[in-house]
Symmetry: D2
Subunit: 399 residues, 4 copies
């Protein structure tokens, strides 16, 4: 294998390209996690992370992967044998369900076709049936990373309310947080699960639980054994700017920098950027004559786009060609989508030109790999992006 040339394009849907500013912030000596300098840092990031989840309630920060935060959400609020309603949006929803089973819960799946987000009507219908309120929690993946479909969380909230059901609402925002509009408080979510390595632009190693009062109340009686993930001690000690066990200090340095960067750009502008890149990508995909996996326009993702390979062509072979020829990593198809889709991550620290480079790598990769397609995808994306810039400039001029 020859040495790759230039800078790698990491266009999987996370971990994402970590900005230099975040890496440099982390590249500092660790400090005493029981001292005043740490305390100031902790109070700052504990407050700052709330603004990202759009909540005024506490956010627990774990030194752990996102999978740990999934587990934390469940073990803090539920008891062995509890029923949990989950929606099969794709691979990650399935993993969360398997995790719930391993913990001794009884998850129930509303079947999905892996090409749409969750269906609020189906959730409402199921909850209405559950007159005894056996279901203790509804779990939905906001942005299903395996498919690029976004579930309408606000509508799920309304569905639960319409059913008059007391279940907790738990949402996985691992690949949507700080990329796609999300409102923990406004949408009445009880536990929001997040991770560091996607829209937050950090390396992996931190994960989050934003918790409502109702969730905290549930945790007082929840029976699953827990210690590392326990909210109680964490929230009590966090209030003073400390942690019950050694925190991942250097990742907190990075989180501090990332929160600043997001606010400097402006969260709404961050969301708009991701939406723009999603649309540009889909225009490219269609121009190539390929098919976007997500079938519902209202569920299109700004974080990633999963693309169906033409029949008879293996997505992983294609991804290998792109990696070897163009030094770019694309996301693979997971479980039942293995080999059938590739995923283009366009989230995190990213811009129009990086997207054009990314789409250029896909288009040239299709050519080099001999995958049937039409040219013009990058052109379509450029047409759209240029037009967006023009309208933006026009609207600035009009101000």
């Amino acid at each position: 294998m020859t040495t790759p040339q230039g800078r790698h394009f990491l266009q999987i849907p996370g971990p994402t390209n970590v900005p230099d500013r975040v890496l440099r912030a982390m590249d500092r000596p660790t400090i005493d996690h029981r001292g005043p300098e740490f305390q100031a840092l902790a109070l700052r990031v504990l407050a700052g992370i709330r603004t990202i989840f759009k909540t005024e309630q506490p956010v627990v920060i774990y030194p752990a992967s996102g999978t740990g935060a999934w587990e934390a959400a469940l073990v803090n609020s539920l008891s062995a044998g509890d029923r949990v309603l989950m929606f099969e949006t794709g691979h990650f929803a399935s993993l969360w369900k398997a995790l719930a089973e391993r913990l001794g819960l009884q998850p129930e799946f509303i079947a999905g076709d892996w090409r749409h987000g969750a269906d609020p009507a189906a959730i409402e219908a199921r909850l209405r049936e559950d007159r005894g309120h056996a279901i203790k929690a509804v779990c939905v993946v906001h942005n299903e990373t395996s498919t690029g479909c976004v579930s309408p969380i606000g509508a799920v909230r309304k569905a639960i309310d319409a059913a008059g059901h007391p279940a907790l609402l738990m949402v996985d925002t691992i690949s949507s947080l700080a990329s796609i509009d999300y409102r923990h408080d406004e949408w009445g979510v009880d536990v929001t699960v997040g991770g560091s390595q996607k829209g937050l632009m950090l390396p992996p190693g931190l994960s989050f639980n934003a918790v409502s009062e109702k969730a905290v109340a549930a945790s007082k009686t929840a029976g699953l054994p827990r210690s590392y993930w326990d909210w109680g001690e964490m929230l009590a000690i966090n209030a003073k700017g400390f942690f019950p066990f050694t925190p991942a200090t250097n990742l907190l340095y990075g989180l501090d920098a990332a929160i600043d960067m997001l606010h400097e750009e402006g969260l709404e502008r961050v969301f708009e950027r991701h939406a723009r890149h999603g649309e540009a990508t889909r225009r490219a995909v269609r121009s190539w004559g390929l098919e976007v996996l997500c079938q519902e326009p209202a569920h299109y993702s700004g974080s990633l786009t999963a693309v169906l390979m033409p029949a008879g062509h293996d997505a992983d072979r294609f991804r290998g060609t792109v990696l070897d020829a163009f030094n770019m990593s694309l996301g693979n198809g997971l479980s039942k989508l293995a080999g059938r889709v590739f995923r283009i991550g366009h989230l995190g620290h990213f811009n129009d030109l990086t997207l054009i480079g990314t789409l250029g790598g896909v288009e040239m990769g299709l050519e080099v790999a001999g995958v049937p397609h039409k040219a013009g995808g990058v052109q379509a994306a450029m047409d759209f992006l240029a037009q967006q810039q023009e309208s933006q400039a026009a609207s600035h001029a009009a101000e």
Copy 2:
């Protein structure tokens, strides 16, 4: 408060001073954790970390604090209600016990005075009483970070064998690994718990379980619910160079560098350095007329030294003086030792001159804080260190 001058001395017993080489290794873009470059890294660190534990058996690497690895050791190998024999070496042994209780186990404490390591004879006696083998595991902290006492793990192994007891042996090496001689295989340990932020010279955020075949066998039937911490899937996927969930890639970069550094210095030389610094520190403490907390010379720690304050003087006030006047963080006394001891960390990326600076800060701090003491501690340490260098030079010359 005035701005501190110069470089901070982080002389708590961990997190330790992270070497530039490790920080710089971590200061790189995250890569695709499902790609070939990651795979090569993972296989390298998974093999390398075994050499640090001195084991040929697998070592599980968690994106988590050491507390998580404590939990992992228990939930993988035990079932609800299982009896666990633990030894009260100090604060961290007590925390581990509390954790076991929270998980629904029945830990039993052999009382200790927080001034010695674990007593193998007491363990043997208790196990001999347990004719029905109700005790499923014996848990010992190798280096008790709250007291600076080292437990004789080899002797504990022999005690268990002498009692003919089948309990698993679990050892916490969080503050001894890569600082104090430790031999997972030779001592027949079943689960060794480790962390990244001490002798491994990394920031916090990784922790470890080195697991014996017997432990893995126990995990097949152990009944505590688990998912994040589960060894089974981890070991299966690790074998191919991957992880079941997103690993803390940048910390793995650092781990790779740290393992190289430890082998370049030589593990035995690393242990000798820590032992030397422990002895130099104790000589200083005695010269000051103060008392080393650890009362058993055979249990003295090379990682840290806990020092008793003279009656009527508050250790935390003294630590505050040292921080303000000399820009050095010392470790605090924990739970029942709060205010009564301060702890000098001398582990990790450290050398003779940094130790002299550290001891100088303590000696001057005692003076500035008005704590009764005699001068001459640094002098005693220097006398010892110079003499060590002379004998080393002599032995090199003799070669």
Copy 3:
């Protein structure tokens, strides 16, 4: 002004995008420049840099910008009033001439149109006229950074030889070194001037003189006053691995890493990459209906492409649009080209996808800025790059 999004595209023809590996190598504590560790480093980079110039003769490394190395070349080998023949390839050739004048030399310019490299025939003709050998040196810019035209240095050498003229040959390779094939020894160059911030992928701050035996001999009698730039003491002390004054140690760390990276990729492969990107860029330019400044295909540059703006459109306004809308810096037109051309740097740490992003930024920028052009430039570049990858893959398969 809104905060830029994502990673900046620095597509001026230098300074170039510094690779993380080089930045991280520089991000280390400075060491004693009179100690053994420094000596090993110095001997390594002094040997390594010769391989980049393709010389077995010494290369002097200055802590200075490239302008300093221009001055060094002249003051070491010439005396006040000496005649120097220079070729007007563009702005930088003009600056070098102005510098020679300021030093009290008598430079003579062979006029050029800023759209071609140097003309060996014109040089030969002028040297033939100079029967008295009043001309002491011939100075040529290898890659004229203001125009993107490459001068044929091998042919210049032959022209001097054909004229039987003893003048020294001095060549500026500031923007060609490690990007475009260059052979100090084979082409009989006496002084080659280089800089760190282009193909060497370093920040600015180091510059170079590769010196022939003939040049060193000339320096023994050259009369211009000099001290900082003096080769004599430098070469004597360099031989032992040291420098006569404090070197820019951290930049040397970076140079060490950069030399390794160039050899890992392979110098010939580096040249091929730059040539490929030059051709792809020119195809894009022509597809846009714009004109490449360089008029002689044999002189096309792999480092940068200067593009003429359509009449009535200001290049700097266009560049401002690209910076604001797409977070990319393009090079400006210099002196008589100001406002009339923009320059696309495609040198250094760069690859196909970064080029596509770059060209995408130009094409979209033309649209947003309302500059008349045709679409299809990026498409033309992609067609070419994909085809190159296919032939490369085919040739690998045939091996």
Copy 4:
């Protein structure tokens, strides 16, 4: 040789220990040196550096070592054959004189014994003799790095004035700037020469000329050829926030951070710290029974202390022992002091504990190397430093 343990102590009198914050500031991609982001940076550092020189006049920043700034001072303001009065404070004064000779000037040395700073009375006497004002400049080294003696620049100014002599006053502050009180404007200095790698805490690679109006006026008619070092174009272009040739951008990032750090600590507090460390070091030296090279208390240096070795003992062999045994670099004796003195650098990013470690390394090194000395040096330093902290605390309490 065995691998060194822990962090290196770089206790030569420069380059100094670069703070992480400065290294991290430099560890960023280079930006377009003709763009708006660079312009803001340049205007900030060009203003900031004036505060360090305590001048409201311009400071020229060269991408060059300090030696270059020596040359710049001379070539900008003098003409071939000009007489320059210099004072032989030590090795660096001698090097500056040799440089002046190489440039065609006629430097005249007032002899010194390398154990005192410059003598204003001798300068005044010589200038009074020079009735024809043949002497065009007086050049003095503020802190002679080879000896650790400080020249009284304010008194030199008065001496020149008392003699009614129009000579320019040029001062080398390479190892005093930002360490020892210095006042370019108040002391009426015409050219102050500085460097980056000492009190400014940067890596080597930048140097400075602070220039008075009188110096700038002199440069209009000064006849030495110059281009790279020329103030004229530099000052004109600096005024707009740019440079006439590519600046060492990443070092400017570091300079920006260093200026901030100096002001956060407070310049006067920085000077006090250096003075304190000088005094502590001298107390240690005397306690060892060794001799400080500098013989005039009023000339003692806060930047470094040169120490005479006992007769019959080689300083370089001692330094080798310290490097091997304790991983510390000490400064060597230069030219006529070679082997006879070693130099302890205590400048830059440094604090009490680092000093204690440093002095500990010297004291233990004397022991290990078998150099006759008395113990107690570190103790004496600690006694002094603790007492300083106590008086400081007392004075704060009294506020």
